[in-house]
């Protein structure tokens, strides 16, 4: 066989052998392995980073509010309950919002301004109450939960979206609205709305 033909045959064989290797498909990676992985938006959906950003903005606002300054001044450390943020978006993020409660709990405990009712214990108690009523967490029963918890204030909120579509393009605006409410009077002592936008733009 002439050399050129042998080389050609070898090239074909190598290509065929390489095919299964090249066709391995996608692989899983860690954020530390790919630069900017945590920064890139994978979709117009809300992700962990987005929620942390919104939460951080809201809690920063709470810390600079008059009520937080008063807590710092009198050192009374009142009892605070934290409730799940209501999901009013077009994404199924209830479990992510539940996970966010631990972040709020940690932040408020570290602030040393309030005594925080353990979120885990609180959820167990709520589950027990709701089990008796035959349902899941019901926001309409927050007053009853507070009575049982003996909390003076509670922190709650909701995440909602404004979603628009045009031919092939999509823009979603996310808002995280949070409130601090006094249990006895239902007075809103602080509230803030953090927002950001995500979009899919056709280039």
């Amino acid at each position: 066989m002439p050399t050129s033909n042998r080389s050609f045959a070898a090239l074909i064989a190598a290509s065929l052998l390489a095919l299964p290797v090249a066709g391995c498909g996608p692989s899983y990676v860690r954020g530390s392995e790919v630069e900017g992985l945590d920064d890139a938006a994978m979709s117009t959906g809300i992700d962990r980073r987005d929620m942390e950003q919104l939460l951080h903005e809201n809690l920063k606002s709470l810390m600079s509010s008059p009520v937080a300054r008063q807590w710092a001044a009198d050192g009374s450390r009142p009892t605070l309950a934290i409730y799940p943020l209501a999901n009013e978006t077009s994404e199924h993020i209830d479990s992510q919002l539940m996970a966010l409660l631990s972040d709020v709990e940690t932040f408020m405990v570290n602030s040393q301004l309030v005594t925080v009712v353990s979120v885990e214990r609180q959820m167990q108690m709520i589950a027990e109450i709701e089990k008796q009523h035959g349902g899941g967490f019901d926001r309409n029963n927050i007053a009853e939960y507070n009575r049982q918890l003996g909390s003076r204030y509670y922190l709650t909120g909701k995440v909602f979206t404004a979603d628009e579509r045009a031919a092939g393009e999509r823009r979603v605006q996310y808002f995280m609205f949070m409130q601090l409410i006094e249990v006895a009077t239902s007075a809103v002592l602080w509230q803030n709305k953090a927002a950001f936008t995500k979009a899919l733009i056709q280039n």
Binding site: S43, A86, E88, T161
Partner: protein, 452 residues
């Protein structure tokens, strides 16, 4: 001899190229076994066939969301709902929802739709609006069956986005009715009376739902906000809520039969030309006639709709042994046919144009062989015919669609005394029994899919 070989290699190359373009068997063959299992009333077996197609081991696994897997996932999601595996069904439909884009039905896109539906089955699947709306509507059933009102409201919002998009594009479909009804129920049971009223009012734009009359009498408290609600209530006074009376509410939805599905169809070119008499360009018509006269082109392949299954079945619902009235919620079959009628002409036109192009390619092959060897007449003709015939036979019209959509959906909503109840639903030889324990002021949602 060398020239013969050259001609043969030209034809062979053309053949392989054409086969590559034509792709594999159509989508209908991928769901054939699953649908056959459903016909026999074996949903678990149907899901197993789909798992095989998606290359996953069980219903618990999500496949890679590539190729047509999202579409097969829609089918599996519907079958899992039929098996009362609501959590898995919700996961499947949710994953598919995010992976399936919607076909742009605007007037300017009609030509593209024809090309897309006929010849682009290798590209990502784009659902027609009725399918996209039904993903959220059917997923609302899953979340309501799970008692997850927050999840149901998320689906309601997703549905509202699609509805708004359709309205902005002057598109409408009666399928919005059921979705709005269920969305209204989700908001009503979450304590969102005003949102519920908006959704119920929207539902009444598409159909009269007698079962909504009493819930609306409770919600509007003698102050009907819209002509649709006013017409349905018809002057009847307000009704106390189930929380006030100590009763409970029961909402039952039964999907049955299967909507028409797409299959490849072959029609004589003469018939295609007759159907498209007003649409085809004079140049294409002349070329088609010339090719038809030569006897080279005889058939045109394009997708068409089959008959639906079980359109005329009447589902039954009995509670504690007594029959309960059901009303038609949506006629999905009619909506599927309506959507298809809109694009069918364009699809056939695209099929014809493609056939002409391919046969011209066959003639080119014949011309090449003749140019190479003046004595290659019969070979050239043979290769030309081989090329065009192969191209025509191997043509796979895009038959992708959500194959397990029910043909009809019926609904019933009643007040019942709190406590234990026995419920029996039946349609197309599928029976579902449920024992419910309803607390005062409570509710239950019971879906059933009889996909035979």
């Amino acid at each position: 001899m060398g020239r013969w070989l050259h001609a043969l290699s030209t034809a062979t190359t053309a053949l392989f190229l054409s086969l590559g373009q034509a792709g594999c068997a159509g989508h209908e063959s991928r769901v054939q076994n699953a649908l056959a299992a459903l016909n026999e009333g074996k949903p678990a077996q149907a899901a197993a066939h789909l798992n095989e197609e998606m290359k996953v081991g069980s219903n618990d696994e999500l496949p890679q969301l590539t190729g047509d897997n999202p579409l097969l996932l829609l089918d599996r999601g519907n079958i899992l709902l039929a098996m009362d595996r609501n959590k898995l069904s919700a996961r499947d439909l949710g994953a598919a929802d995010k992976s399936i884009d919607m076909l742009d039905m605007s007037r300017t896109a009609v030509d593209e739709i024809g090309k897309y539906i006929f010849s682009d089955d290798s590209g990502p699947y784009r659902a027609p609006p009725h399918e996209k709306l039904l993903i959220n509507t059917i997923n609302l059933m899953n979340y309501l069956a799970l008692g997850d009102l927050s999840g149901a409201k998320v689906e309601a919002r997703r549905l509202a986005i699609m509805q708004k998009y359709l309205r902005d594009h002057e598109e409408t479909t009666a399928l919005i009715g059921l979705g709005s009804y269920l969305a209204g129920f989700a908001f009503e049971k979450s304590g969102g009376a005003s949102e519920a009223l908006l959704y119920y009012d929207d539902a009444l734009r598409y159909a009269q739902y007698p079962s909504l009359r009493d819930p609306l009498r409770t919600l509007v408290r003698d102050e009907p906000k819209s002509p649709g609600i006013k017409a349905l209530i018809g002057g009847a006074g307000p009704l106390p809520s189930v929380a006030e009376t100590g009763e409970a509410e029961l909402l039952v939805v039964v999907g049955f039969g299967r909507s028409p599905r797409k299959v490849p169809n072959r029609i004589p070119i003469g018939l295609a030309l007759t159907i498209l008499a007003n649409d085809i360009s004079p140049a294409d018509r002349a070329q088609a006639n010339a090719l038809a006269a030569k006897g080279l082109v005889t058939w045109v392949n394009y997708p068409t709709l089959t008959a639906a299954r079980g359109s005329y079945t009447i589902p039954t619902f009995s509670l504690d042994g007594a029959p309960v009235r059901m009303e038609q919620a949506i006629d999905i079959e009619a909506e599927v046919r309506k959507a298809w009628r809109k694009v069918e002409g364009t699809v056939i036109l695209s099929a014809l144009t493609r056939t002409i192009t391919r046969v011209v390619a066959g003639e080119v092959v014949q011309g090449v062989t003749q140019a190479v060897d003046k004595d290659s007449g019969p070979l050239g003709l043979l290769l030309g015919l081989l090329t065009s015939a192969t191209l025509t036979v191997a043509d796979t019209p895009d038959t992708r669609a959500w194959s397990t959509l029910p043909a009809q959906i019926a609904i019933s909503r009643i007040r019942v005394p709190a406590g234990q109840h026995e419920l029996v639903l039946s349609a197309r030889n599928v029976t579902k029994r449920a024992r419910l324990n309803l607390r005062p002021g409570g509710w239950a949602f019971v879906p059933m899919m009889a996909l035979r």
